[in-house]
Symmetry: C2
Subunit: 78 residues, 2 copies
């Protein structure tokens, strides 16, 4: 769906802990957005995108995926 901002979300994954990953299209560019959401007390069901987050290009995302093994290994060591 296209919202007023021109973003077209093609995938949205609830990561838990009030965080979501979205794959979206914006003006012909693909973005992978990982972000924290929040709610206002007057609309507790409406999740709003927060300040904490980052949008990655597919190239940068590919670098993340390429390093998953190394990252998981580092986490396990801690």
């Amino acid at each position: 769906e296209n919202d007023a901002s021109g973003f077209n979300n093609v995938l949205e994954i609830d990561l838990g802990n009030k965080k979501k990953l979205a794959v979206r299209e914006f003006k012909g560019n693909t973005l992978i957005d990982i972000r924290e959401y929040y709610t206002k007390s007057e609309a507790p069901d409406k999740l709003l995108p927060g300040r904490k987050g980052i949008s990655l290009t597919p190239e940068v995302w590919k670098e993340v995926v390429k390093n998953v093994g190394k990252i998981d290994e580092a986490i396990k060591k801690l």
Copy 2:
């Protein structure tokens, strides 16, 4: 190494596009931080962490990894 802030980076990956992924330990908690960096003109070699970024717990990171196939599929469709 431990820096003045108490963060202990155990892994740092250059993702390109001025972005890095770091696995770090802070007060006994493991964090996976994906962040944009910037430089100041007076110290062009010193990368400084920027505002755009997010720190994930290992549980949230696990959800990202679990969904890599689905995410890559969505990217390919765009």
